[in-house]
């Protein structure tokens, strides 16, 4: 990369290159500064500040000065079974949403990539969940799941499959029910990303493979999948992170209930920080979430990339 830069630079106009480069650099700073300052003050700064807070006893509305407590918050967290239960639910939710999201979106993207009639309409409609505010998505599905006035139970009754149930307050059904909503809400982005990848698959290769008598599955494995693999990896990794960090959907659907069965780590940390005012402790939770997620993602990406080399 360094060599590419130097060769390009030496090819530029010959009059006093150093002065010109310095001028250009100054110009670049001038263009970047208006965005850089807010990023530093409201994103990078708070992030570092947040990591720092995890090592303090910071609380909301306290008059005494905040003190460093070392790793005390993390030691407490280690024994906080409620938090680890919430963490387990968070992982279940993240995997439970991300995997079906990917498989369903892949199917939809493959369909939308075909020469079907009304494809434009299907593409437009498929994107609807993306445009909706998360709060509205939550409210909408509450109406679907509503035990009496909801369409789900009514359909079940119509089909003669029993009386239906109260999906969002049942101990066994709450988590699966919110997972379905999560899958629904995240499908469009995944589909769009995969579709973008599919449109870069060389058509000739497909046709050549078909001529050689390769079936649909074989063509998918040998032509399509290698082409969309990078996009698929990136979008699954992002989806996993987004899902693990999601908040609004479950806040509206169940607010963590029943009995904590859907209390995602974000909801847990939010309550700790803004209901009980334990800023330091909540920040420590945030750090643990980042750390565990980073490790999981690193393992996933390394594993996948290695898999790619072997093929």
């Amino acid at each position: 990369m360094t060599t590419a830069i130097t060769t390009r630079r030496t090819r530029g106009p010959a009059k006093d290159p150093t002065a010109e480069r310095a001028g250009r650099e100054r110009g670049a700073w001038f263009l970047v500064l208006p965005a850089l300052i807010p990023i530093l003050v409201l994103s990078v700064g708070p992030l570092l500040y947040g990591v720092g807070l995890a090592f303090t006893d910071s609380q909301s509305g306290r008059t005494a000065a905040t003190q460093w407590v070392g790793t005390l918050n993390f030691q407490d967290l280690l024994h906080d079974t409620l938090f680890w239960e919430s963490f387990r639910i968070g992982l279940l939710w993240a995997v439970g949403v991300t995997v079906p999201q990917f498989l369903l979106a892949l199917g939809l993207a493959l369909l939308l990539n075909q020469d079907l009639r009304l494809r434009w309409l299907a593409r437009a409609l498929a994107i609807v969940p993306w445009a909706m505010p998360e709060v509205v998505v939550g409210i909408m599905w509450r109406l679907v799941y509503h035990p009496d006035a909801g369409i789900l139970n009514e359909t079940i009754r119509d089909l003669g499959l029993g009386d239906g149930r109260d999906w969002l307050t049942g101990l066994a059904t709450a988590l699966p029910a919110v997972i379905v909503v999560g899958v629904w809400a995240g499908m469009p982005q995944t589909t769009v990303a995969l579709l973008a990848g599919l449109q870069h698959t060389p058509r000739e290769l497909h046709e050549a493979a078909a001529m050689d008598g390769a079936g649909a599955w074989r063509r998918f494995r040998t032509v399509t999948w290698p082409a969309i693999r990078p996009v698929a990896l990136a979008i699954t990794a992002l989806n996993f992170i987004w899902n693990f960090n999601s908040f609004a959907l479950v806040y509206v659907l169940t607010n963590g209930g029943p009995g904590g069965r859907t209390r995602l780590p974000m909801l847990f940390a939010y309550e700790e920080a803004f209901r009980y005012g334990q800023f330091g402790y909540a920040a420590a939770m945030g750090c643990v979430m980042v750390a565990v997620i980073s490790v999981l993602l690193a393992l996933y990406l390394v594993g996948r990339l290695k898999g790619g080399d072997e093929q």
Partner: protein
């Protein structure tokens, strides 16, 4: 490529199943919004309201300060989108055209900012904004939304800038146009459609956002639409479902309309950023 007839039929069927799954909850929301209380309490709800009514909408406006919340949301989202575009466009230009350390650091930030849980950011933000007396203030929320919309805006804009041929700029420079002149009269017009699409997307992001607004806005008269909508959930009897659905439906309309307008460009933008 040829697809056999039964396979084609299967494809249509599968596509139909997808569309039903993706659209039915929204249809149910609309249906609920127009139902009178008696139909909502009925044990056998129907897809189409038998006696459609607008009462739910009236009631939604009476019960909760929806109009004021919508005005707050609009103000915050428009300001955030405009500011985000004004500051992101020059930065995206630099990121796309110069391969400096700064550009790489900025790209790194765009990626990393997606990975951090908001808890870790919201607590310090809360403390910082409190010191600046910007808690429960619309300008404070706007500032947060600007930064919140920046990563995706940068991502899309970098793609659009890359799509403008460098040779055009160089030709203008050879003709004696200054640097700023080149940017204003050559690059900007070509970028305009992309900038508009990015701005509209930033608007939707801010209009839909919930978490920051929930934490930062304390008094009802300053809260945004998503937060006020959750107040409907408070005491939820069957009778309140109608106004809840009506409010939720109205809150979605702006996002849906804008999304319909820019759908193609958003998908194109993701593509541009992804290909590189």
């Amino acid at each position: 490529m040829k697809v056999s007839k039964p396979a084609r039929a299967g494809q249509y069927l599968a596509l139909l199943a997808y569309l039903v799954f993706l659209v039915f909850p929204f249809l149910w929301l609309i249906s609920t919004a127009f139902k009178p209380p008696r139909e909502l309490a009925s044990l056998h709800p129907t897809w189409l309201p038998k006696n459609p009514t607008l009462d739910n909408f009236r009631q939604a406006f009476d019960e909760q300060p929806l109009l004021r919340a919508a005005a707050n949301s609009l103000l915050v989202a428009v300001c955030a989108a405009v500011v985000a575009i004004v500051i992101a466009t020059p930065m995206a230009y630099v990121m796309a055209r110069h391969r400096s350390l700064l550009s790489r650091a900025a790209t790194g930030w765009v990626v990393v900012s997606q990975a951090f849980p908001f808890v870790l950011v919201i607590i310090p933000l809360f403390l910082i904004l409190k010191n600046l007396h910007l808690i429960n203030s619309l300008p404070g929320l706007t500032m947060v939304y600007v930064v919140w919309a920046l990563p995706f805006a940068l991502w899309m804009l970098v793609g659009y800038v890359r799509a403008v041929p460098k040779e055009l700029e160089e030709a203008a420079a050879v003709d004696g146009a200054g640097r700023l002149r080149v940017l204003v009269s050559v690059t900007a017009p070509l970028l305009a459609p992309g900038i508009v699409a990015t701005g509209l997307f930033a608007f939707i992001t801010a209009w839909n956002e919930f978490f920051f607004a929930l934490v930062l806005m304390k008094t009802p008269e300053r809260q945004t639409l998503p937060v006020v909508l959750t107040h409907f959930l408070g005491a939820e009897g069957v009778a309140d479902l109608g106004p809840l659905a009506a409010g939720a439906f109205l809150a979605t309309l702006p996002s849906l309309l804008i999304f319909a307008l820019i759908q193609r460009r958003i998908t194109g933008g993701m593509l541009a950023g992804a290909v590189k």
